[in-house]
């Protein structure tokens, strides 16, 4: 399937998902669906660096929070303008704020992408584990900065008023956010799939397999790694941008929640890291499971489930669900090939 065809196909799927969600006639579906879609984007973004290039990012929450706080900073811009700028200019800014969600997503994406690029630039010359450790550090540094930055609410947090309905379309605002996240998911999956099938995808795979051999084959490994950290970071930031509107009240602890970091890693690992299907599968399964467990038991138990599944999968099924499916298919294929006779080579 060529990329334009894939985009059309996934838009159709997205439309069907939206239609079904509307049919349910319950706002909770949009609330819960938004969270799951957010994880689809985060998991896909994580996998572009983690799954394709083999570099572990523990700081997904930081990139997500960067997107969210970019939104807060932009939404609060009129306050700042009223204080420091001449009235005419201030009223122009007040009129332009709050910008529509897609603009906020772009802004969050640019900021998070730049931070991704910077982190990569500082650490990617070192061994892979140092990059992983640096991303852990990055999350804490950013959180400290935000906690101490009064303009975006500091440790108290910031209110972002969510309109009841979306002015342009007249639909419920949460529904609108859901649609936006649905479109972002399509974007993220399209990007991931396009990378997989392009020259870039080959380059990423060689980095994961053997960087020295990749360099010797003419692959500019450092540049490709920077491309990956930037794209991955930008997508995470985009996923975070609408979050203040979704939650209404953003505080550092929720934006930097460990749940984001864990889920971004667990979902691709459980789904399978070698293809765009893996993170999607993992996010849908784990996201749904968590929503159910949160409602029926508690959010702590749902997080415990994710952690346990992550450990279980990396130990028992290193290639995730996709790997298990592959094995199953091979077995069935082998069983067929032997024509039901003694299963010689089936195992």
């Amino acid at each position: 399937m060529r990329t334009p065809v894939f985009i059309v196909a996934s838009l159709i799927v997205a439309a069907v998902v939206y239609g079904l969600a509307r049919l349910a006639g319950n706002d909770y579906v949009f609330f819960a669906g938004y969270v799951i879609l957010q994880f689809v984007v985060l998991a896909t973004a994580w996998n572009i660096l983690g799954g394709y290039c083999g570099y572990v990012n523990f700081g997904s929450a930081a990139f997500f929070a960067l997107g969210a706080y970019t939104t807060v900073a932009l939404v609060k811009l009129p306050n700042l303008a009223a204080k420091y700028l001449p009235e005419g200019l201030a009223s122009v800014i007040a009129a332009a704020v709050p910008p529509p969600i897609p603009v906020l997503m772009l802004a969050g994406g640019v900021i998070a992408g730049l931070v991704g690029l910077g982190t990569g630039y500082l650490t990617l010359r070192l061994r892979g584990v140092f990059f992983a450790i640096a991303t852990l550090a990055l999350a804490v540094v950013l959180q400290t900065l935000i906690v101490n930055w009064d303009y975006v609410g500091g440790s108290r947090g910031a209110y972002v008023i969510r309109p009841q309905v979306h002015a342009l379309t007249g639909i419920n605002y949460v529904e609108y956010l859901f649609v936006m996240m649905l479109l972002l998911s399509v974007t993220a999956l399209t990007v991931a799939r396009a990378i997989e099938r392009s020259q870039l995808g080959y380059g990423f795979a060689t980095i994961r397999d053997d960087e020295l051999a990749a360099e010797a084959s003419g692959v500019p490994t450092l540049r490709l790694k920077l491309v990956a950290t930037t794209i991955s970071g930008a997508l995470m930031g985009m996923a975070g941008a609408p979050f203040p509107y979704y939650i209404g009240y953003l505080e550092p602890a929720s934006a930097f929640g460990l749940a984001y970091a864990v889920n971004s890693i667990a979902m691709p690992m459980i789904g399978g890291t070698t293809s765009w299907v893996g993170p999607l599968l993992g996010a849908l399964l784990l996201g749904t499971l968590q929503q159910i467990a949160t409602v029926t038991i508690s959010s702590a138990v749902s997080l415990l489930l994710v952690g346990l599944l992550l450990v279980a999968f990396v130990v028992i099924a290193p290639n995730g669900l996709l790997g298990l499916f592959d094995k199953l298919r091979q077995r069935i294929g082998a069983a067929r090939a032997s024509g039901g006779n003694a299963r010689t080579g089936a195992a």
């Binding site: 983690g50 083999g54 572990v56 523990f58 500082l122 650490t123 070192l126 892979g128 584990v129 140092f130 992983a132 450790i133 640096a134 852990l136 550090a137 990055l138 804490v140 540094v141 959180q143 400290t144 900065l145 906690v147 101490n148 440790s155 460990l258 970091a261 864990v262 890693i265 667990a266 690992m269 890291t273 702590a300 138990v301 997080l303 415990l304 994710v306 952690g307 346990l308 992550l310 450990v311 990396v314 130990v315 290193p318």
Partner: protein, 291 residues
């Protein structure tokens, strides 16, 4: 700005004492990451586990946390041996330690933290001991016992481990793992067994560090996360795998944090470690004492 000298010196003292304690939290990672090349980011979670064990025993039986830690050392050692066995079979042997090994430890960290939340909630827990509220005073300078005792115990722990690593056969074999596996085989030692012993030992130190932590400050399950950055910052700062380097790195970080907290406010302190780690990684990855 003029800095009051007494405030400065008190902050310095507090930093040194804090640094000593940091060395105890870090020494496990110095062994697992620095010597064995196992990126155990779950180490702080084991430290918190140690804190909670010290808390329960102290609350139920009134036993001193340090005594409890010494009693549970074998259990932590066994736990460490078990974790290494899983790690070895699942990742090291298959050559997949980079991506999946890291995810494994991250999962362990997370599972431990959430389990503690489920059992104990997110309230801060603390221990009782006679010395915790005492302070030795030299004029204007304070030496609070709840900081001094952990620092002394930590230095004893590190000294003991250093002796073990340099003077005993097993210890030297552990150091040889870092250099090369060939030398180890020439010593007729089984590298997997040596690494298991070393890793188990690294987890055992978490029991002690955990007890020290809960003497110093009240503990809740997510406190461990703050220590991930500290521990790796110190490890890298001190040069990987060197225990004296660990002590120096820990002291430096303790002093920097203490000064930051005194002069800029405690909310900035966490960023010091991490900021320092980022800078060290970027500009001097072999550590400040490295070549």
């Amino acid at each position: 700005m003029t800095i009051p000298v007494e405030l400065f010196i008190n902050a310095l003292i507090a930093g040194i004492l804090l640094g000593g304690f940091y060395a105890a939290v870090t020494v496990g990672v110095s062994i697992s990451f620095g010597i064995l090349d196992i990126v155990n980011i779950a180490h702080p979670a084991f430290v918190i586990l140690g804190s909670y064990i010290a808390y329960i025993v102290n609350q139920r039986l009134g036993v001193d946390p340090i005594l409890t830690a010494i009693m549970v050392l074998p259990a932590f050692y066994a736990l460490g041996a078990m974790v290494y066995q899983v790690y070895y079979v699942s990742f090291e042997k298959r050559g997949q330690e980079a991506l999946r090994g890291l995810a494994f430890f991250f999962g362990l960290l997370f599972v431990t933290e959430v389990t503690l939340i489920l059992v104990f909630g997110v309230d801060y827990r603390y221990v009782h001991a006679a010395y915790i509220d005492q302070t030795i005073r030299f004029g204007a300078f304070d030496l609070p016992m709840r900081m001094l005792i952990p620092c002394v115990i930590a230095l004893m722990l590190l000294g003991g481990l250093q002796l073990f690593l340099t003077k005993t056969y097993t210890g030297r074999a552990i150091m040889a793992v870092a250099q090369d596996q060939m030398a180890l085989q020439l010593m007729a030692a089984d590298p997997v067994r040596i690494k298991r012993i070393a890793f188990a030992l690294s987890i055992a130190t978490a029991a002690i560090a955990g007890a020290l932590l809960i003497i110093i400050q009240p503990v809740e399950p997510s406190v461990g996360r703050e220590y991930i950055g500290r521990v790796f910052a110190i490890c890298v700062l001190g040069g990987l795998g060197s225990l004296p380097g660990t002590v120096i790195g820990a002291m430096l970080l303790g002093i920097m944090e203490s000064l930051t907290a005194t002069f800029y406010g405690p909310s900035w302190a966490p960023a010091v470690a991490f900021g320092f780690l980022l800078l060290t990684l970027a500009f001097r990855p072999s550590g400040i004492l490295g070549r």
